[in-house]
């Protein structure tokens, strides 16, 4: 079976790696993975594993009752490769997540589904 860009990303995540497509023409990364580069419209890509280094671009606390699991963080993380994506910061109370906070992004899961999660750098 041909492995399309969406499948390739999700497979990487399920194997514990954040992999990103880098355009062979303009050498820029993009996210989400697709068959055409949104920067230069090139169609050839090389997959690279993200370093994980990033910072919080913006953040919110989604309020939820304690008996349903309590509040949780939802953020937009900007990786050093230059791409942004939705994520969650784990390991700190949700209100302590701040914009511009340095984080390490890693492949984790939420309720059994592979997901990009973050932890504060140095933790």
């Amino acid at each position: 079976m041909h492995e399309g860009p969406d499948l390739a990303f999700r497979k990487g995540l399920s194997e514990g790696r954040i992999v990103l497509p880098k355009c062979d023409a303009c050498r820029r990364f993009h996210f989400f993975p697709r068959v055409v580069c949104p920067h230069c419209y090139g169609t050839l890509f090389t997959w690279r594993e993200a370093s994980g280094k990033g910072e919080i671009h913006t953040t919110t606390v989604v309020r939820r009752s304690t008996n349903q699991g309590g509040d949780y963080n939802v953020c937009i993380v900007e990786l050093e490769e230059g791409v942004r994506m939705m994520s969650r910061v784990e390991g700190v109370p949700p209100p302590d997540v701040e914009i511009a906070m340095p984080v390490i992004a890693y492949a984790g899961e939420i309720d059994g589904t592979p997901a990009v999660l973050c932890r504060p750098e140095g933790s």
């Binding site: 671009h57 606390v61 592979p114």
Partner: protein
């Protein structure tokens, strides 16, 4: 750039139905009641309609469902779904279709029983594939992410966001059609339940039932109808993304481009506008759109909205019906920006009527700050 479509079409009828709560009615019932009201306003019949512009929250082919329900066989149908901005887009599309003689009587129509029907947002679409796993609360978390970034970059405060809600309520208190008319103070907003930081339940639009409709014709016959014609002077649009995580700049919307295009097409500037009707799904929207449409500088929207400056008696009349925050918000609000703008120009606004309105701006937002569409409407004096 000269706009060949400037003033070529006109709104000759507006209608609404089911505001607030309309238990026992389907979304299509409310849609049809709104359509009939707009046609009655123009003294036209359903059999006169040959162009239908419609989308709904239900079904994969809502425009066809609406035509079937109404018992009409339109020769031009437009149902592009750009979220709540769709109905401002239809003002532009109807202008083109009328001018191209693809139809003679355009009916733009929408209805929803969102409040009575399910109590939550009705949606037929799949969730955003690269976001759903993180469980943002849609759509509020998307707007919360934009608000948080705006606060970070420009020092916008929760008090300023609250003042947007307070201003909307103050307008609504004069509007007998508005759903939420109780007193609301800045302190009330700040003390209300937080849903997705920094937005509280009072920073969010209402969840109501309701429908709205517009009847448009070519300007050459616009004076043949009972109400004063409201001319379409210029429209502009731009879309930047669908998923909030793909928004290019969380503090700048495509209203910057849609507004510039609409102003250029109409040949007017922000300082000429008498009333401003913005899609205020959340308090941050009003601030973003005032900035991006050019009513104030980027980053100054919070201060611009502060302390009653956009409330009745303030510097600029914004959302004079009470907006989505306090008047009505049945899933998608876009059509009501156009209806209120048109009624202000006609002089029959349901709430506070601003004196001598010649130019009004209606701005639609769709998705999660994704699709921005601006229309500038004018009275006979502006042709």
């Amino acid at each position: 750039m000269e706009n060949r479509l400037r003033g070529k079409s006109a709104i000759v009828g507006t209608g609404h139905a089911g505001f607030g709560e309309a238990p026992g009615l389907t979304a299509y019932d409310i849609m049809a009641q709104a359509g009939l009201a707009a046609l009655a306003d123009a003294e036209l019949k359903l059999s006169d309609v040959d162009g239908l512009f419609c989308t709904m929250m239900e079904d994969s082919m809502p425009a066809l469902m609406a035509a079937e329900y109404l018992g009409i066989r339109p020769r031009f149908v437009e149902g592009t779904m750009t979220g709540g901005s769709s109905f401002v887009n239809y003002v532009a599309a109807a202008t083109m279709a009328l001018e191209a003689r693809l139809c003679d009587v355009a009916l733009i129509v929408y209805g929803s029983n969102q409040r009575s029907g399910s109590g939550k947002l009705v949606t037929a679409s799949r969730p955003p594939p690269y976001e759903q796993v993180y469980q943002p609360r849609y759509p509020i978390s998307a707007y919360a992410l934009a608000a948080a970034r705006h606060m970070h970059e420009f020092g916008t405060t929760r008090q300023q966001l609250a003042d947007v809600a307070v201003a909307a309520r103050a307008w609504a208190q004069h509007n007998p059609e508005a759903f939420a008319r109780g007193d609301l103070t800045r302190e009330d907003v700040l003390a209300s339940r937080m849903v997705s930081d920094p937005l509280t339940v009072c920073d969010c639009c209402l969840v109501t039932d309701g429908g709205g409709a517009l009847v448009m014709v070519r300007s050459e016959r616009a004076r043949d109808f009972p109400k004063p014609p409201v001319y379409v002077l210029g429209c502009g649009a731009e879309s930047t993304h669908r998923q909030i995580s793909q928004m290019p700049d969380f503090t700048v919307t495509a209203a910057r481009e849609s507004g510039a295009r609409a102003f250029a097409a109409a040949g007017v500037s922000p300082s000429d506008i008498d009333v401003v009707e913005l899609y205020d799904a959340f308090t941050i929207n009003t601030i973003l759109f005032l900035e991006d449409l050019g009513f104030c500088k980027k980053g100054e929207g919070g201060a611009f909205a502060e302390g009653g400056r956009i409330a009745p008696g303030g510097d600029l009349p914004v959302n004079t019906n009470g907006g989505g925050l306090s008047c009505v918000h049945p899933g998608m609000y876009g059509i009501f920006t156009v209806i209120e703008a048109a009624r202000q120009i006609r002089g029959d606004a349901p709430g506070l009527q601003i004196a001598n309105v010649d130019l009004a701006l209606a701005h639609g937002n769709g998705g999660t700050l994704s699709s921005q569409i601006t229309a500038i409407l004018g009275s006979e004096n502006t042709l």
